[in-house]
C-alpha cells in the first residue's frame, strides 16, 4: 500500500484487496486525505453500509432482470425462448456486453464500466418498451417490467456512482442523450425489433449481474 501503481495518474489510486475489503477501504480513505479520516468518526462504516446496500440492490435487480427476460421471450413467440435460439448478436449503440477481461480489471475500473453501462441502458429499455407497447399492447406485466427496469437501472447506476465518489474514484462525465432513437422507433421491422429487445434485455441482465459481482468484491466479507 502506498506505492504508485503503473497506469495511475496523479491523484488516482486503486483499491487493492490483499486480504480484507475493509483493510483496503481504510487505505483508500487515508490516501484520499479526507479530513474525516483523522476524526474520531471513521467514514468506513458509512461507506461499507453504502456498498452493502448497493450490492443488495444489484442482487435484487439481477433476479428481476432474469424475470424480465423470461417474460419478454414468452411474448415474442417461438423460436424466442427456445433452447438453442441464437439470433444475430447485433451491436447496440453505446453499449456492449461485459468484455471477457472485465473480471481481471481493478474494482474501481470495473465499477466505472458498470456505471457507464447502467447509464446507457434506460433509453434503450424505453425504446424496447415503446415498441412492445405496439406489438404486445395487452402484455401489461411485460410493459411494466420494462418500465421498472429502466428506472431500476438508473437507480443502480446512481448508487454505483455514489460508491465510486465515496471511494474517491473518478466517474464518467455526463453523456449526450440518444435523441435519434425515439424518433426512429416506428420504422423498424418487427422481427429485428423483437431481436433488439431480446438483446437489450439480455444486456440488462448481464450488466446488473456483473455489477452485483463487482460490488461483492468490496462488500464486507467479500472474496479476497
Amino acid at each position: 500500500m502506498g506505492q504508485n501503481l503503473p497506469g495511475l495518474k496523479g491523484g488516482e489510486f486503486r483499491v487493492e484487496l490483499p486480504g480484507s475489503g475493509r483493510a483496503s477501504l481504510e487505505e483508500v480513505v487515508k490516501k484520499q486525505g479526507d479530513p474525516q479520516a483523522d476524526s474520531s468518526i471513521s467514514p468506513l462504516p458509512h461507506l461499507e453500509s453504502k456498498i452493502q446496500q448497493t450490492h443488495s440492490l444489484a442482487r435484487l435487480l439481477t433476479k428481476y432482470a432474469e424475470q424480465l427476460l423470461q417474460e419478454y421471450v414468452q411474448h415474442q413467440g417461438d423460436p424466442f425462448g427456445l433452447p438453442g435460439f441464437s439470433p444475430p448478436r447485433l451491436p447496440v449503440a453505446d453499449l456492449s456486453a461485459p468484455a471477457p477481461g472485465h473480471a481481471g480489471l481493478p474494482v474501481p475500473e470495473r465499477l466505472r464500466l458498470d456505471e457507464a453501462a447502467l447509464a446507457a441502458l434506460p433509453p434503450l429499455l424505453d425504446v424496447v418498451r415503446r415498441r412492445q407497447a405496439e406489438l404486445n399492447p395487452r402484455a401489461l406485466r411485460l410493459l411494466r417490467r420494462l418500465e421498472d427496469a429502466a428506472r431500476q437501472a438508473r437507480a443502480l447506476g446512481a448508487a454505483v456512482e455514489a460508491v465510486l465518489a465515496a471511494l474517491g474514484a473518478e466517474t464518467r462525465g455526463p453523456r449526450p442523450e440518444p435523441a435519434a432513437i425515439a424518433a426512429a422507433t416506428v420504422t423498424a421491422g418487427v422481427f429485428p425489433a423483437k431481436v433488439l429487445g431480446l438483446r437489450v434485455c439480455g444486456l440488462y441482465r448481464e450488466w446488473v449481474s456483473r455489477t452485483e459481482a463487482d460490488l461483492g468484491q468490496l462488500a464486507p466479507g467479500g472474496p479476497a
Binding site: 423460436p79 421491422g189 422481427f191
Partner: protein
C-alpha cells in the same frame, strides 16, 4: 401451421417497409464484419393476411460474405422447420417459400418466419399477421353511478377471436349537438368496457357506439341512445342490521339506511332483500320492499342462522320512467332466530307486504280485518304488533301447557297404577 402445398398467388396486404431502417442504424450501430447483422432480406416484411390465404415469400442473401448463395438455406415458422417441398430456389441468391391456407397467428406480436443458413444461424426474419377483420361489436349496456359517471360494456362481435390485436374505442356524443368524444379509461369492469368519469349532461340524450379496428379493417356497432337518468344505479344500502323480533322464533327484523349519495332522490326507490340459511347456497328473494328502510322476515326456521343482504334500485330519479338499475348487494349480515322445541315453518317473506307463503292468506285476511276494525269498531289500538305479541304469548302458553300435560300424563299413569276403582 400452414398446409403443405404451394398455393395460389400470395395475397400479402402491404408493401414491405424499407429495409435497414433508421432505428437499426441508430440503436444497433454500424454493422460489423462477422457481427451477425442481417445478411439476407425476407420479402415481404411483416405482411398482414386473411386466415386461409396464401403467402409467397423470398429470402435473398446479400452476398456478405462474398459468394454467399441460397444453397442450403431453409425456413422456420414459429420455431418449426418448414418442409423442404414448400421452398424452391428462384436463383442463386434467392430462396422462395409458398405457404397456403394460413392459420390465425399464434401470438399477437406476429408469427416469426425466419430464414436460416445451412448451419442453422439466423439470416433474416419477418413477422406474419394472419387473422380476421373485426365484426360489429354489439350488446352495449351502460350505467351511471349516482349520476356522476358512465360505464359501458359491450360484446366484441359474433366470432370474437380475430387472431390480431383489435382495438376497441367507445365513442359518445350528445344527440343533438356537440362533437364526438372518445372514452379513455378502458378495461374498468372487464376486457370490453370503458369508464367516462365526468362532464356528463343530464336531461339530454347521448349517442354511444363502439368502433373496432385491426390491421385487416374496422367495424362499428349500432348506436345506443340513452339518458343518464334512465340508467342510474347507486351504492348498496349501508348499515344493514338484522335482529330478532322479541321472542318470535320465526321472524327477524331487517333495517338499513338509504344510500347516502342519492338520499335526497330516493323517494320512489325500491329495495330488495335476499336471505339464506347459513349452510345453504340458495337465496330467497323478497321483492318490492317499496321505499321503506325496514322489513320483517317471517316464516323462518327457529334456531337458525340467516345471512341477509339488501340492494337498492333508484327508480324514478328525477322523474325517470325507466326501470332503473339495481345496486350491488350489501355485505352479508347475519342473525339467528330464537330456538324452539316445535318444528317451525319452512318459508318466509317480508312483512307487512306478502307474508309467509304458508300463511300468506291468513295474514292478508287479518290485515284486512284489522283495517275494517279500525274504521268501524273504534279499535284504534289494534295492530300487527298486538297480533305478534299475542302469538308470542300463545307460544309461551303452549310450552306451559305441554309441561302441565306431561305432569298430568304421568299423574294419570300413576292413578292408573293406583288402587282399583
Amino acid at each position: 401451421m400452414p398446409a403443405g402445398r404451394p398455393g395460389p398467388a400470395a395475397q400479402s396486404a402491404r408493401r414491405p417497409p424499407p429495409l435497414l431502417p433508421l432505428l437499426l442504424l441508430c440503436v444497433l450501430g454500424a454493422p460489423q464484419a462477422g457481427s451477425g447483422a442481417d445478411t439476407a432480406v425476407i420479402s415481404p416484411q411483416d405482411p398482414t393476411l386473411l386466415i386461409g390465404s396464401s403467402l409467397q415469400a423470398t429470402c435473398s442473401v446479400h452476398g456478405d460474405p462474398p459468394g454467399a448463395t441460397a444453397e442450403g438455406l431453409y425456413w422456420t415458422l414459429n420455431g418449426h422447420r418448414l418442409p423442404p417441398e414448400l421452398s424452391r430456389m428462384l436463383n442463386a441468391s434467392t430462396l422462395a417459400l409458398a405457404l397456403a391456407n394460413l392459420n390465425g397467428s399464434r401470438q399477437q406480436s406476429g408469427d416469426n418466419l425466419v430464414c436460416h443458413a445451412r448451419d442453422g444461424s439466423i439470416l433474416a426474419g419477418s413477422c406474419l399477421y394472419v387473422g380476421l377483420p373485426p365484426e360489429k361489436p354489439f350488446n352495449i349496456s351502460c350505467w351511471s353511478k349516482n349520476m356522476k359517471d358512465l360505464t359501458c360494456r359491450w360484446t366484441p362481435g359474433a366470432r370474437g377471436e380475430t387472431f390480431l390485436h383489435t382495438n376497441y374505442s367507445l365513442k359518445y356524443k350528445l344527440r343533438w349537438y356537440g362533437q364526438d368524444n372518445t372514452c379513455e379509461e378502458y378495461h374498468t369492469v372487464g376486457p370490453h368496457s370503458c369508464h367516462i368519469p365526468k362532464d356528463l349532461a343530464l336531461f339530454t340524450p347521448y349517442e354511444i357506439w363502439v368502433e373496432a379496428t385491426n390491421r385487416l379493417g374496422s367495424a362499428r356497432s349500432d348506436v345506443l341512445t340513452l339518458d343518464i337518468l334512465d340508467v342510474v344505479t347507486t351504492d348498496p344500502p349501508p348499515e344493514v342490521h338484522v335482529s330478532r323480533v322479541g321472542g318470535l322464533e320465526d321472524q327477524l327484523s331487517v333495517r338499513w339506511v338509504s344510500p347516502p349519495a342519492l338520499k335526497d332522490f330516493l323517494f320512489q326507490a325500491k329495495y330488495q332483500i335476499r336471505y339464506r340459511v347459513e349452510d345453504s347456497v340458495d337465496w330467497k328473494v323478497v321483492d318490492d320492499v317499496s321505499n321503506q328502510t325496514s322489513c320483517r322476515l317471517a316464516g323462518l326456521k327457529p334456531g337458525t342462522v340467516y345471512f341477509v343482504q339488501v340492494r337498492c334500485n333508484p327508480f324514478g330519479i328525477y322523474g325517470s320512467k325507466k326501470a332503473g338499475i339495481w345496486s350491488e348487494w350489501s355485505h352479508p349480515t347475519a342473525a339467528s332466530t330464537p330456538r324452539s322445541e316445535r318444528p317451525g315453518p319452512g318459508g318466509g317473506a317480508c312483512e307487512p307486504r306478502g307474508g309467509e307463503p304458508s300463511s300468506g292468506p291468513v295474514r292478508r285476511e287479518l290485515k284486512q280485518f284489522l283495517g275494517w276494525l279500525k274504521k268501524h269498531a273504534y279499535c284504534s289500538n289494534l295492530s300487527f304488533r298486538l297480533y305478534d305479541q299475542w302469538r308470542a304469548w300463545m307460544q309461551k302458553s303452549h310450552k306451559t301447557r305441554n309441561q302441565d300435560e306431561g305432569i298430568l300424563s304421568s299423574g294419570r299413569r300413576g292413578a292408573a297404577r293406583g288402587p282399583a276403582r
